[in-house]
Symmetry: C2
Subunit: 336 residues, 2 copies
DNA sequence: ATGCACTTCTTAATCGTTTTCGTGTTTTCA
DNA sequence: TGAAAACACGAAAACGATTAAGAAGTGCAT
């Protein structure tokens, strides 16, 4: 590997001068600067990130926390899309992306925070994780610039998909399609689930809808079996709903299966709506009517925010950024 | 951050002793070793990866190339699953995962190889990329330990999903279900596509199947529109096939749409089969009969192989490792 | 007592950068 | 003309670790 020393001897200057020339410092002559840069390019020089990091305490590397026990993170369309846009946005600004992990299986285990310090991440984005994990808290409370996605801590920046408005818009659309008996099989165990449920109730009240308790059932996210079971309960009701909302698109298919196994059709006999807007749902009949979350913007905002926290710590607000989604109109909700 | 120097003064020994104690060298007394490790733990010491990398030329970090112009990589279930298992396997061995990119948008652009040198990746795994890109070639031909997935270069290790046997098994299954008029809408522009197509022809010949040219049509991977169009062509044939194979599960849904729009049902009127075994295909009716590729093993093998190349370069074979998939029997292929 | 081999620890150089401070040269201007 | 200011560059320390080589201290045989 060609180092600054090589360039310095090739140019007959000191390493200090080379460093300053390449970093465009003021106190190097224009001609010398040109000459040094020229030969650096010719010799195929690239800096050594480790040496640079050691000296500057900056790695130009972001840690991404993306870990769940059931490995549903990376392989979840929603999070994968967020990560993809996160990655692109970070790369545009010259940052790389490395996964944070806690080396749980290794002998000398590191916590998330320790791992971050070990690698010297300039900033951290928490995408998908059990937010109650004490290690996550430890990380969030550290001095490392941190951005969370879809979860709000009191001292960090958060990029939030607008679940409240999303649910509101979706429910309004369904209402406008003429539905009045609307059931909601809601997700569990997360602030996102709570927000959506609250928004569902509030919007229903605004619209003057009467939602019997039997219309509200829990089912874990992406759990098609649970959604299937919950759907059966709804179909067993004397006054069955005309439209069912699901925790997410994936779970929605569990519901659709329950419906068709009873010989009912979607949307002719009963309407369904999902949440997320995973891509495949646009390619399968019935095309899911769903709330498409803006994963692209979510990832991009997260990257930009954390980089801003790193590079302009003084002037960057600790704020909550809300990203709106939009109702994607498929054909799983029919007009009645 | 607590460094070795802090520990050395706390213990009243030299930094060298601390280093050797922590790295379990022979020439440190048992008691001293214990004491040093004890205080290291107490003081919350963790090494500085940059310093370590600078000195040892080892980063314990793997580069993963996962980039396509259309961003179909991360958001593709197959590759996402491979990456997920890759990540787990690497983490188990103490390696981290960082995405390789070429900073294409930045002023001082780096090639893939340059980026790898800059970050000092110990090894590289090429998962999903345009394999014809000269930059990929440059990377592959470098001295950095490299493993490719689903593509064979002549001088690197490759982890290959067994597309030949996969296609063979799938076709055999379909044959056993009684089908004789079998069409294949095949993927394009990759060695994988070629291998599958060749295996299809060979297996068909072995089975004594007559495959008219009109039964073989191209459609890009994951292109539901193309699959839709190709399916229409097949349905227009006088002697229409009883079963259609698709490039992948995603594309398969394009075909299913074409079929149902003609008022035909899957699998009652016509059978279909996919390839990949994406998870959602097991949750949607009709459950796709497909060849499930073993993404878990693919990712794990790739990580293990590259780490072996790094740690035992002498004794590690440059070989091609083939990972078998298995026919997943859904209900999209019916018995006739 | 001397020499020798161990064992255990230290000294010091090194990896490739960055950065502070200093120095020599040139320019500026009273 | 001479002092101050501006300019262009270099020397050296530092970041936090590793490691070769050397130096004490101990024990044992001679």
């Amino acid at each position: 590997m060609v180092s600054m020393k090589d360039i310095s001897s090739a140019c007959g200057v000191s390493v200090a001068t080379v460093s300053k020339a390449l970093n465009d410092h003021e106190d190097i002559g224009a001609e010398t600067k040109r000459r040094i840069r020229e030969t650096a390019k010719q010799m195929g020089y690239f800096p050594n990130s480790a040496a640079k990091a050691l000296k500057t305490n900056r790695t130009q590397n972001l840690g991404v926390l993306f870990e769940e026990d059931d490995h549903s993170g990376l392989t979840h369309d929603y999070f994968a899309c967020v990560l993809d846009s996160l990655k692109s946005a970070a790369e545009e600004k010259g940052y790389d992306i490395t996964f944070i992990n806690s080396c749980r299986t290794r002998p000398n285990r590191m916590s998330f925070l320790e791992h971050c310090r070990y690698r010297g991440f300039d900033g951290v984005i928490i995408v998908c994780v059990n937010f109650l994990d004490p290690e996550v808290l430890e990380l969030v409370n550290s001095d490392i610039p941190t951005v969370t996605i879809d979860h709000l801590f009191n001292n960090t920046c958060a990029i939030m998909s607008d679940n409240v408005k999303g649910m509101r818009d979706l429910l309004h659309y369904i209402y406008d399609m003429g539905h009045r008996r609307i059931a909601y099989i809601h997700g569990t165990e997360s602030s996102v689930a709570q927000r959506r449920l609250a928004s569902f109730y509030k919007t229903a009240a605004e619209l003057g809808l009467d939602i019997p308790d039997a219309y509200i059932l829990p089912a874990a996210y992406r759990d098609t079996k649970a959604a299937y079971a919950a759907t059966e309960k709804l179909l067993d009701l004397r006054k069955r709903p005309t439209c069912i909302l699901y925790p997410d698109d994936f779970a929605c298919y569990g519901g659709i299966n329950a419906i068709s196994e009873r010989g009912l059709r979607v949307p002719d006999d009963i309407s369904v709506a999902g949440f997320d807007g995973i891509r495949i749902a646009r390619h399968i009949e019935p095309k899911l009517t769903t709330l498409k979350q803006d994963t692209n913007l979510l990832g991009r905002k997260a990257a930009e925010k954390v980089i801003s926290l790193i590079e302009q710590p003084k002037t960057t607000l600790i704020e909550q950024i809300v990203v709106e989604g939009e109702v994607y109109i498929g054909n799983s909700v029919r007009k009645i």
